[in-house]
Amino acid sequence: MNLSARMIVVLTVVGLISGSLLAVVGMLTKDRIAFNKQQEIEAAILEVVPGTEISKEVFTEKNFTIYSGKNRDGNLIGYAVYTSGTGFQDIISLMFGTDPNVTKINSLSILEQKETPGLGAKITDKELFLRFWDNKDAGSAISLRKPAVRSQDELAPNEVNTITGATISSDKVLSIVNQSLEKLKQLKKAGKLISEENDAE
Amino acid sequence: MKTKTFPHGIHPQEFKETTSNKSLQPLPAPEKVIIPLHQHFGSPAEPLVKKGDEVFMGQKIGESNSFFSACVHSSVSGKVMKIENYNHPLGNPVPAVTISNDGKDRVFPDIKEQKDPLSLNPEKIRQIVKDAGIVGLGGAAFPTAVKLSPPKDKPIDTIIINGCECEPVLTADHRLMLEYPDDIIKGAELVRIATGAKKIILGIENNKQDVYNLLQKKIYTFPLEISLLKTKYPQGAEKNLISALLKRAVPRGGLPFDVGVVVQNVGTVKAIWDAVAEGKPLYERALTVSGAGITSPKNLIVRIGSLFQNAIDYCGGLQDSANILVMGGPMMGLAQGTSDVPVIKGTSGILAWAEPEHITEHNCISCGRCVTHCPMGLVPTQLMKYSKLDYLSEAESRGIMDCVECGSCQYSCPAGIPLVHWLRVGKHKITDLKRKKSA
């Protein structure tokens, strides 16, 4: 067999074998990976809209998804908003939940972030940051309390605490949430989310 | 009065006042003179005499048939005692002719006065200069005959007479200008004739105002211009002098020829005049014996081949504290291990003083003073490091061969790094390497 032919045959065969092997692997793992992803989202929804039994995507665009959360009886108990934006270093993806009328934020959960460890990364810290987001008044834009205070009581209903030394990361989270909140309200007002609600009734 | 100058450089303390008003006086010829056969840039001369020969004062005793060389003459009359290696101020011993002085100063019979020296043709002048063994008396001892023979394709338009004497301490050239102004000017005119140049510029540093005033009063028919320069070191370095006076830059690795200039030291032009007009070959020169280590500093005219010790003794001897003996100026002069070395044509001064016996060297802190002071526009600290680490090709490409070893960098270096020494090491290694490659 001449050299060129051998080259072509060998590489093609290698490619074919690799392709088939990968096809098998791909199929074996596909469902599992999708399942992982699904579960991650469901867990997050449950965290920000407690009591959710059935969740459903009601609106989606790039890097922005609204899920509706319903209880066992099929009643809407809130929305979970998945969103992302730039942080101090890189993208921050987060999810927050609201009540069905979008008057208050239940809680906030950070899904993905690459902020400075030990500093900006404290946005994932329950004690230092996330707990101050529980049950906030969503009537107007949320604002940040600077400098940081020690207890929940010192904050206004629509105020959240900043992280000492990581003001920017806190700020970024705030603006991501505020933007998405605004969007959610508008969508709600425009009735874009209603069809889903009707389904349940 | 506006003075001209070149960029960069330094201004060290001058110490010239000790000798600047002491007139030149001859050093009595010693009992024997030791005349090295190699006192110049180029090939060494071969001896023309042998042991036991009687020689006259001014008789040619060494000659080479190479173009890049200079003849050597006896500075006394007497008998050749031996021809053997002898200590040399430039380092390793070289063959030298030792002549015992009969004290009669019998002049070589061929030496005659010239009737009308200024009417000679260039060829003749060059021949006389060559036969008189004249070399640049500023220190480098470049054969003058070579300098007077520019290549045909490089026409010379300007002669620069270097009266800067920018080295601290030295005053011999200053005195020469004060005492023999006519000889110098006429010598310069001879140089102009020999090279076919149009104009002569005499550059004088403004610390020699008296010379300037004196020369201003004199009237010559020559195309002469006297120019006052700022007192700054190294004002007298060939390329910097050209840049200061004419704003011309001699190309890297090039010679003043390349920009149509010939530069001559005042001492040299005086020697040229003496040789052409009086037939007197170069067997004596003016020099300064000074420094805090010399008991009574003087400006002397010394026969070539006299020992340093002779000159020092005549100036009252060395102080006890003196621990450094330098031939030439303090910036570029060579430290001597002994005073048992002969005065050669390039000896512009004999200096001695007390120097601390410790050198504290600090790390280079890149202050950049060597760079701001280097008159050649080099980066000495970097070249030093290249030289230290044997990065010779880098050193060469960054211009180490352009270094004139003026010492401005080291003078201004706060870290006390022997920059010049390192640069010399690098330069020599590169030359060695080239020699090896071409061999």
Binding site: M7, V10, T29 | -
Partner: protein, 204 residues
């Protein structure tokens, strides 16, 4: 070709030819994923998996592959195993897969792997290649372990997530950042050289 004993063939990867400290290979993952010990171990294991399997395959196929397309073939083989490792981790260890990000797929361009194929597996028997790959893998894991331990302990005061430093300790956050990675590895390389020269002089 001088053949070494099985033991020596294995051992050389640990120190003499340690891919990270001695050969300076695979620096990207070494620096990028060693901010926590668990990441370092996971990366080490994934790389080992790819290295060992592709060494086996390459050494088995060495006669069949013409030299002109060998690099291309090796790359395909390596990439196949990398994909397997990547998918496997994404399926069964999602948190680690997430924290390692694109660095698992990047194993495909880790010079250790391609380098070993070229330098060793393509010229040696299956058995020897396996041992060589095992040795290199161990060396790589070891290096990652050392680096990640230092970084995690100093940077967070923890080891594998467990608090090991007392309360007095203020974590040096720089250690888990890029700057700390570079500096620590630089110092470790110097230490490795010092140890090497010490052992050499002792031998002499």
């Amino acid at each position: 070709m001088p053949s070494k004993s099985v033991g020596a063939e294995y051992i050389k990867g640990l120190w003499e030819e340690n891919p990270v400290f001695r050969q300076l290979l695979g620096m990207c993952p070494t620096l990028a994923v060693t901010n926590a010990v668990i990441n370092g171990i996971a990366m080490g294991l994934a790389t080992s998996f790819v290295l060992i399997l592709s060494s086996l395959v390459v050494s088995a196929l060495k006669k069949l592959i013409p030299s002109q397309v060998r690099i291309a073939s090796y790359i395909v083989i390596i990439a196949t195993f990398v994909t397997i490792a990547d998918r496997f981790m994404a399926a069964f260890f999602p948190p680690i897969s997430k924290s390692l990000g694109p660095y698992i797929p990047l194993i495909v361009v880790n010079c250790i792997i391609l380098g070993r194929q070229e330098a060793f597996s393509s010229k040696n028997s299956v058995g020897r290649s396996l041992i060589d790959a095992l040795g290199m893998s161990t060396g790589f894991i070891l290096a990652l372990l050392v680096l990640s331990s230092i970084r995690e302990i100093l940077g967070m005061g923890t080891f594998l997530g467990h608090q090991v430093m007392g309360a007095w300790f203020k974590p040096w956050i720089i250690m888990i950042l890029p700057a700390g990675a570079f500096i620590t590895l630089g110092i470790l390389l110097a230490v490795a050289l010092v140890i090497e020269s010490k052992t050499k002089t002792r031998k002499n």
